[in-house]
Symmetry: C2
Amino acid sequence: MKKVSTDAMEQVAEYFRALAEPRRLRLLSELRQAERSVGQLVEALGATQSNVSKHLEVLFDAGLLARERRGTSTIYRIAEAETLQLCDLVCGNVARIAARRAGRDAGLGGG
Amino acid sequence: MKKVSTDAMEQVAEYFRALAEPRRLRLLSELRQAERSVGQLVEALGATQSNVSKHLEVLFDAGLLARERRGTSTIYRIAEAETLQLCDLVCGNVARIAARRAGRDAGLGGG
DNA sequence: TCTGTATATCACTATATACTGATACATAGA
DNA sequence: TCTATGTATCAGTATATAGTGATATACAGA
């Protein structure tokens, strides 16, 4: 009888929304390897500094990233290991869905 | 050295985007218990038929739901068990982030 | 075919947000 | 203080999408 409140539903939706942008996934992918400064991430993505900064803010606000100042730089890193676990799970789901579709398109799965 | 393509990144983002709406999470929550017709879901959510139908379409397009016609009704169900696993993982993450914030607000975590 | 029911889609409005260039803010060094 | 560098934020535009009521489509029964 586990009932999920509307408020919790909104928080979960916000969490997903933070992950619902290719650029932000790129940022997580970069940070997966090691912590990085904003400048390094701008370099890696080839986007504007303003844009990267804003995306980092969204991920930080959602609780996905942690940050720390070192001199004039801000260093970002992934806040929790579970975030990566989530990305892996989703990648698996997406791959499976793509495979299912491919099978259907080829007429293998039957309908 | 696992490199993720931009195309895959967009697909994953689309997957997350499908989950980034409270109403769609409500729909998944309903369908978690059992398969349902559109009408039943309209009743359960108290939303308009047009709105529910559109959200179901988004979830279906993202590969999260399966559907089947029975007479004049369309019956929707969750396509894969992994989808629920994902929601559970995210709920855990959100709860942990909320707890971390609460601790910080109360000045327990130190900064 | 005609009627009723269930669902999907259309036309439209309102809102959110991704993006950019310019600018403000913060820190380091001379 | 002045200059340089790194980051965050502002102002403005373009686009995506959530929401609605109205309408089209699909099926069941008489």
